[in-house]
């Protein structure tokens, strides 16, 4: 099933949903009056798009409508999608692979967003393509985090490098990279402990992990993926900003889109920080990870 279908499916599950409301709005006979734009604003705000980005989007549409003499709501629908796609379309959005293996991917984020699950799903994805995958259990803090990753390693057919609880995550990463070299692995996925972006000591720890990776393998990490929970509101901006400051995030994974079919805050992130969304999580199974396609996302969310 493709992303669009899945998204639409979860959209229909949520009553009074976004797309439905937009559909009604754009099908309206009312014309483009003040009330129309106010409702559009409301719909975007309830999708967690955030005040600043919403106001800018709506103002942009208002002006285009005026300039291009657009009078009926229906034609504004495609304009809105266009704007959203424009916001979300940054450079190459696919995962960056190493010129010489292993490709190292560092997975970061606040507590509970789905880092470990995403790491497991990613491992499965690479395994499907025949890659040899090593998982580094660099969350040595949370109780049973390594055991959780071990289950995913089994599911995906990947190898696991883990240490004792409380061990130095940098050491785990070091070992994982050594193992990758001697076993000629293609991919190393590093699952880190959840941390709130405002805890400076924990962010320092993350920087250190990144440094260890860089030291052991020039050019690595090739991706630093920030895992964001799509249910999150405006705090996601702060998460993106501070994780980016600390470890140069190269892409976002938007998880739990099966629950909310929104995640509008990524628009605000794209608007302000220009970090591309690369993957979306659509469930708890190994296969519930999809590449992010801006056009489909825009269509599913704002296409009606």
């Amino acid at each position: 099933m493709n992303l669009l279908k899945k998204l639409k499916q979860s959209l229909t599950k949520t009553r009074e949903n976004l797309a439905g409301r937009l559909e009604n709005l754009f099908a309206g006979k009312r014309g483009l009056d003040e009330e129309f734009f106010e409702e559009l604003e409301e719909i975007l705000l309830t999708a967690d798009v955030g005040v600043a980005t919403t106001l800018e989007l709506v103002e942009g549409l208002r002006q285009r409508a005026r300039k291009e003499n657009i009078g009926d709501p229906a034609s504004l629908s495609s304009l809105l999608q266009e704007e959203v796609v424009k916001l979300m379309e940054h450079e190459a959005a696919g995962l960056q692979l190493a010129p010489s293996p292993p490709t190292v991917i560092l997975v970061v984020g606040v507590n509970g967003t789905g880092k470990t699950t995403t790491t497991g799903k990613l491992a499965y994805r690479f395994r499907q393509k025949g890659s040899r995958v090593i998982l580094a259990a660099a969350d040595t803090f949370r109780a049973a985090a390594a055991e959780q990753l071990a289950v995913w390693a089994r599911r995906a057919g990947a190898e696991l490098i883990s240490h004792q609880p409380g061990a130095d995550p940098g050491a785990v990463v070091f070992d994982a990279l050594q193992a990758a070299r001697s076993r000629r692995a293609d991919v190393v996925l590093v699952d880190t402990a959840g941390r709130l972006q405002t805890k400076t000591n924990l962010m320092e720890e993350l920087k250190k992990i990144r440094r260890v990776i860089g030291r052991e393998h020039a050019g690595a990490p090739h991706e630093v993926l920030l895992v964001l929970d799509a249910t999150t509101g405006q705090n996601a901006l702060s998460q993106a900003r501070l994780f980016h400051d600390a470890v140069e995030v190269t892409g976002i994974v938007l998880t739990k889109l099966d629950g909310t079919a929104k995640g509008g805050v990524v628009l605000a992130i794209a608007h302000e920080l220009k970090i591309p969304v690369k993957l979306v999580g659509l469930g708890e199974g190994v296969e519930d990870l999809e590449e992010f396609r801006p056009r489909e996302f825009a269509l599913a969310l704002f296409g009606g």
Partner: protein, 457 residues
Amino acid sequence: MTAEGKGVVGVLFSSLAEKLQNTLRKLKGKGKLTEADVNEALREIRLALLEADVNFKVVKDFLGRVKERAVGLEVQQSLTPGQQVVKIVYEELTALMGGGENKIKWTGQPPTVIMLVGLQGAGKTTTAAKVALYCQKQGRRPLLVAADVYRPAAVRQLQVLGEQLKLPVFSPEKEENPVGIVRLALDEARRLGHDPVIVDTAGRLHINEEMMSELGAMKEAARPHEILLVLDAMTGQDAVRVAEAFHRELGLTGVILTKLDGDTRGGAALSVRAVTGCPIKFIGVGERPEALEAFHPDRIASRILGMGDVQTIIEKAQAAIDREEALELQRKLRQQDFTLEDFLRQLKQVQKVGPLEEILGLLPGVGPWKQLKGVQVDPKELVHIEAIIQSMTPEERRNPGIINASRKRRIAAGSGTKVQDVNRLLRQFEEARRLMQHLGDLAGGKKGKIKVKFPPG
């Protein structure tokens, strides 16, 4: 105001109070607050609430109520109309989020069963351990139940937490059905005399009917006294729908807000409170098992409004100490005739406003008032203090200097306290008198360091 982070959003927050003051200063002393004044003030507040992730609909209803209260009010001398509206917003916010019993409801026939439910990744497992530790510290014998059989290693996670905290964990050996697990756990709790029983459930989506009805079945089996929704404080607009869905299915008795140790404004708290009416019983403020706190509606109110600093304190102080009383107090401070009766009134106000220490500590130029630690009042102590002061003669209250040993014995007997208690009160009073004097000087501009809006003296 401190600028919160960078970017548009930060600027929006940090300037809320300023904007309000600037755009509305011209209206000062104009008589009544007109609808236009109020609308102008509410526009900014609306943005602040939305940026704090308060649900759109909740914002609308809420501001409607504020408007009703604000339009037509006399413009107060001491406040700009903008401040006055902010004050009403703040009071309404606090009122809305307070109320309701925010302690755990204990049953007369133990064990009390507490079920934790919520979305994936909200923090249920960690919170279960925190609640258990909290109960243990109250002298109870909790039993943790690992009923999340879905997420890999979730059971193991709770077992490890149990080992770390030396708390018993009931975990399924052969049983794989959450309903069965709960039944077995309850038997075990009764057999071994555990109370409460704290059930950690698997995270699930509110739109997953099958998983939601599983919770219903667990409820049926466990007959829980508390069903608490564990909610990530960073949740956005969907928080209302999530809460509604869980409430509809289970009848929630309360909410625990997690991850409040970050920089989220936590507007979800307001949304969820508004749609379910359930009180917020605890907040999670860290990853350590001890990081569970009681919920203070006033703190979250200023947090949501994004004016945690001076503005809030002014509002707080002004809300509680009315102008005349403050004037009178200040006059007394000047004249050194701050009496024990004033002291009592003062303590009651402190209790209303929040610890004096906290209020003063936040004021620029005042710094930490370590000495004030002694003046912090807990409600129980206040009852004692009140009793002691009421056992004094009017003369003693005005002039505590005359209270000698025999008077102390009489007062202690009269108030059902000990002589040491009377002594301590007198010491605290002296301390307070000294500090109040100092504060009076500051507010009166002698030191010129702070501009609290105490009336000019």
